[in-house]
């Protein structure tokens, strides 16, 4: 059996140089994503590519406020990716709720539900600020400090407890079955 730990520096270098971003645009920060990718602030220089699939990404940008409804999707998308995956919280809202500090349906601290590696403050942060955050993340990956995925595995009970407290026990099943009664009603209406 090959000892893959020998290759870890190579893999860390590759992880640093090819961070694929899942195109999950939460809230108003979604409008700051296209300028990052297009001609002026070209993030593809650093090997960063937007990718629509939750199975292939390495970097998850939470761009803006998170409602409980979105949080369900964020958790599912986070758990779908294979392991070295990093989360970059972008804007003020994932840090402490931002201007939605007294809203009944905005998450105040994202860090309670999924592990965050790098925060960027600002409402909205400039593309330069996002690039700075990504540069920080790259350094952390190289040093092996970006270990959100490891923390999520080790402290899964804690994260799971927080998620269940907010969203209610068994929210995954409930979410999946939510539309079935509605579809049944629809069918009955069409039948008669």
């Amino acid at each position: 059996m090959v000892d893959w730990r020998l290759f870890e520096p190579l893999f860390n270098w590759a992880r640093k140089k090819s961070l694929w971003i899942v195109s999950f645009c939460t809230g108003c920060g979604g409008i700051e994503m296209p300028p990052l990718m297009t001609a002026r602030y070209d993030l593809e220089r650093f090997g960063i590519m937007p990718d629509p699939s939750p199975r292939q990404y390495d970097l998850f940008l939470i761009t803006g406020y998170v409602t409980p409804k979105t949080l369900k999707r964020i958790i599912i998308t986070y758990e779908m990716a294979p392991d070295p995956k990093y989360v970059l919280a972008h804007g003020s809202c994932p840090i402490n709720g931002g201007i939605y500090w007294d809203a009944y349906n905005a998450i105040k601290r994202l860090d309670l539900y999924i592990p965050v590696d790098v925060y960027i403050a600002g409402c909205m942060p400039r593309p330069e600020a996002v690039m700075d955050g990504i540069k920080k993340l790259m350094e952390m990956i190289e040093n092996g400090e970006a270990d959100g995925w490891k923390r999520y595995k080790e402290n899964y009970e804690w994260y799971r407890k927080n998620q269940d407290e907010l969203l209610g026990e068994g929210w995954r099943e409930k979410e999946a079955r939510k539309w079935i009664p509605w579809l049944m009603d629809k069918k009955k209406e069409e039948g008669t």
């Binding site: 090819s18 070209d42 220089r45 699939s53 199975r55 294979p82």
Partner: protein, 309 residues
């Protein structure tokens, strides 16, 4: 025997490396067309290393794993039959129908894997890919008929040798028409823009590729690299005269010159595909099928008729 094995290993390594460079060229040239700087040219290699460095892997069963291996194997097999100057190993058997057939097998392998993942987007992408595959058969068939009719042989190597004497295929009018039709088909085989309905990033999330993560995606990257190399090499061989250099006295110099000339021709084919891909938006699947059964088919059929006169 050992010589053949060494040759095979050399061809695979060379094709993989050059294929990755082609993928890098695609991204770099597209970026320059958009007035961006773009990634470094070796970026696909970094991506592949990253995919193989994932700690977790997702699998949906035996066929899911097997489909990827099947696609990669079929691409390598297709590569073995295409004459790479003087260093191919199965070129005497490399007949047009066989190579065209083998170049389409990888798509089937990816389909197997995608369908067994149970993801509805993957199923939708697979359906679209099979329709595209069906649509490109018609002009492709006429193209092969025209070539075989013109040169009187199905063997790719004999076609290359005939072009050494009689000039490149695209300088004969019937074969020029066929080459245009084949180039339009090539756009779909590369998965480039006007005909990338099977992948359709953004439209149907990634089509068949949506469920592949980690090592499966790494294998698919290698398969895509070798596939790009094989398809451009096949086009360069049958239409752009291939290359058999015997100008130098040393065989190594001859081989290097052959590889260099072939590389220039392959990049020319690739650049046309990139330029078309960068400026045309995507067709819907019904438009694409209608298009393929109309214009390329008419052009290729005209070429086939002219070739047989």
């Amino acid at each position: 025997m050992l010589g053949a094995v060494l040759k095979a290993i050399f061809i695979i390594l060379y094709a993989t490396f050059v294929g990755f460079m082609f993928m890098g060229i695609i991204r770099k040239v597209t970026a320059r067309i958009h007035r961006r700087i773009g990634p470094p040219i070796y970026q696909p290699i970094i991506d592949t290393i990253k995919f193989f460095g994932k700690r977790e892997n997702i699998t949906h069963g035996l066929i899911y794993d097997f489909g990827i291996i099947f696609a990669l194997g079929a691409t390598i097999l297709a590569l073995m039959f295409i004459p790479l100057g003087s260093i191919s190993i199965l070129r005497t058997y490399g007949d047009l129908i066989l190579i065209t057939f083998l170049l389409e097998i990888p798509m089937l392998g990816i389909m197997f894997a995608a369908m067994s993942s149970g993801n509805p987007w993957a199923g939708l992408g697979a359906q679209r890919a099979l329709l595209t595959l069906l649509a490109i058969q018609v002009p492709l068939g006429f193209a092969i008929i025209a070539l075989a009719e013109f040169y009187g042989t199905f063997s790719t190597y004999e076609i290359v040798m005939a072009q050494q004497v009689g000039g490149w295929s695209i300088f004969h009018l019937p074969l020029l028409l066929v080459a245009i039709a084949y180039d339009i088909v090539l756009q779909a085989m590369f998965g480039k823009e006007p005909f990338d309905m099977m992948i359709a990033p953004g439209e149907i999330s990634l089509g068949p590729m949506v469920e592949f993560g980690g090592k499966h995606m790494g294998m698919l990257q290698i398969q895509h690299a070798i596939g790009l190399f094989a398809e451009t090499l096949f086009f360069a061989n049958i239409f752009l005269g291939g290359a058999v250099v015997i100008a130098f006295s040393s065989p190594i110099l001859n081989t290097l010159a052959t590889l260099g000339i072939l590389l220039v021709k392959q990049i020319a084919v690739l650049l046309i595909a990139i330029f078309i891909g960068a400026i045309f938006p995507r067709f819907t699947i019904d438009q694409a099928v209608k298009f393929y059964w109309k214009w390329p088919t008419i052009i290729a059929a005209l070429g086939a008729i002219l070739a047989s006169l």
